[in-house]
Amino acid sequence: MSKINDYKLKHLAQLARIELNAEEEKQLIDDLEKIINYFSDIQKLDTSQIPPEISAAQSKNVFRKDQAQNPYQNQGKEDFPEEENGFLKVPKVL
């Protein structure tokens, strides 16, 4: 029973914005098929009484005062290669 077929993979690649060539697609379908089949073991477990565990850490909200503070304000700029008049330049979005 194939969970990942050609069409499915193209769809996932589209969602992930990853370009794959024909060879990569074929290899991925094989690999993912094997891996996803392996996952059938957990399908058999009864977890009806279990709440999902979101994180390994204690789940609680971490708040701070609503005061502007950003010591890194100007450093993100170096990650952007193009700038114009103090604005960060990006390709056309709209």
Partner: protein
């Protein structure tokens, strides 16, 4: 001149204080050795020579003026290339970040800078920390100093090889499913994955945010304790980091022998199964014999959901990866030329990801996609709770859990072409990250000058009880891992 392989953090600090050598001499000696040895090993992706020498001179000046220094002052460290040091490259061993220069320091780097530590360079890893052999690096492979035909493990293979090859006194790595512990085991060094939340992840290029932790790779357990206590603690920039009081560090740095002797070690039957290779089997028998001779009590325990950990991890981790790596869009961090349109820019940029990275992003996208989310991602989260509960129940009767770190010794390059067989090399380390517990890999013997392939044993502790695993480790190394 003190031979470099003798130096631990402790010995280096003693030598500096006794004026047996200067920081500058040692740092220069390390760079000389790196230039020679790293041609073969390939642990480093980039070096930080100019800055390191300047820092060493500053430390020497400080000492000459009689000023007080920290135990980590002047200590030459290697840093995994997914941890940001301002002004230095941070490539995550990926073509996508080939030209990226970090614009800020990771919190752990900031803390070490404040103590005067010196960074020799950035080490090789599997691309975006995805892998168990460092073979997935986009730039080079790293060889295991114990046997150059074998992998150093991964994903912190470069850091492990740098320490084992005496090209740094200690190193930092990151561990999401075993990426500190497994290479430590393969290379015969110590590797600690702290409790989730003990060390800030700010400045670590994120892989799987509910699993990642930064930790030390060192020559001794004592050094691991020193480096860990220097980097741990709450950080306002990492909301998952936890407040640790001063006793936390004190208990780790000054282990109480009577307390350590009172601990009970659990042996989980699900971890001592067929599939361990002969060397690992033999080494584990020795480790258990040695630990028994220290007077520690043993009990057999069961962690029944162990067989499901691999599936659980390989659903949750790729899901988080697919989310975290979305930021590499060709606009920020790296800019590529694309004139057609925005969508094309994304596709063209992400084509630069390596095969394993692509595989995990697609897998993650699949398990989160409509129609599959419940059967896979939600199910895996529920099984994660079962795995966590296994540990909670076990820890009611024992204090520390002993397992092999890896089912095998370091394998040869190209041996694990099938992704699933590569994933299986992490079966003993993965459950620990799912539960967020601290764990350490300690070499069974001193492999430094013998012809055997290293094997490490893993100790798993309760949440925030690094003192238990580091305590037993320091006790073990005093008797069984003597260094000349």
């Amino acid at each position: 001149m003190t031979p470099l392989h003798h130096l631990t953090i402790k010995k280096f600090n003693e030598g500096l204080l006794k004026k047996e050598f200067k920081a500058l001499e040692i740092v220069q000696a390390f760079f000389d050795h790196i230039k020679e040895r790293d041609q073969e090993i390939g642990a480093y992706l980039s070096l930080n020579e100019e800055n390191a020498i300047k820092q060493a001179e500053e430390i020497d000046l400080k000492i000459a003026r009689g000023k007080e220094i920290d135990v980590l002052s002047g200590v030459p460290l290697a840093i995994k290339d997914n941890i940001l040091i301002q002004g230095l490259p941070a490539t995550a061993a990926s073509k996508i970040l080939e030209n990226y220069i970090a614009s800020y320091d990771a919190t752990v780097v900031k803390k070490l800078k404040a103590k005067g530590s010196i960074f020799l360079g950035k080490t090789n890893l599997d691309e975006f920390a995805m892998g168990s052999s460092t073979e997935n690096s986009a730039f080079k492979i790293t060889k295991n100093p114990s046997d150059p035909e074998r992998v150093p493990g991964g994903s912190s293979g470069g850091s492990a090889a740098a320490v084992a090859g005496h090209m740094a006194i200690a190193a930092l790595g990151s561990d999401t499913g075993g990426s500190i512990r497994q290479p430590a085991s393969f290379c015969g060094v110590v590797g600690l994955k702290p409790t989730y939340g003990a060390v800030s992840r700010f400045g670590l290029i994120a892989m799987a945010s509910s699993l990642d932790q930064i930790g030390p790779l060192t020559k001794t357990v004592e050094d691991a304790a020193i480096l860990f206590t220097a980097i741990c603690g709450k950080d306002e920039f990492d909301a998952t980091s936890v407040n640790l009081d001063e006793n936390f560090c004190k208990e780790i740095l000054n282990p109480d022998i009577d307390y350590i002797k009172s601990l009970t070690i659990g042996i989980p039957k699900e971890y001592f199964i067929e599939g361990l290779d002969a060397e690992t089997q033999k080494a584990m028998e020795l480790a258990i014999e040695n630990l028994k001779s220290l007077g520690l009590k043993f009990k057999e325990i069961s962690l029944p959901h162990t067989p499901y950990a691999l599936s659980t991890y390989y659903i949750i981790m790729p899901a988080e990866v697919s989310s975290n790596l979305a930021r590499f869009d060709g606009i920020r961090y790296s800019r590529i030329k694309e004139d057609k349109n925005l969508l094309n820019l994304y596709f063209k940029n992400k084509a630069l990801f390596g095969n394993e990275t692509k595989r995990r992003i697609i897998l993650g996208t699949f398990v989160l996609s409509s129609g599959y989310y419940d059967a896979y991602y939600k199910k895996a989260q529920e099984v994660r709770t079962l795995i966590k509960k296994d540990f909670e129940e076990a820890f009611q009767n024992i204090d520390v859990i002993l397992t092999p770190t890896s089912p095998t010794v370091a394998f040869k390059f190209g041996e694990k072409k099938d992704p699933l067989s590569m994933y299986l090399s992490d079966i003993f380390t993965i459950p620990v990250n799912l539960a967020g517990l601290p764990a350490i890999s300690i070499p069974v013997k001193n492999y430094h000058q013998i012809k055997e392939l290293p094997v490490g044993f893993q100790l798993i502790g309760r949440h925030f009880k690094e003192r238990d695993i580091l305590g037993i480790g320091q006790f073990y190394e005093k008797l069984f891992l003597k260094r000349e």
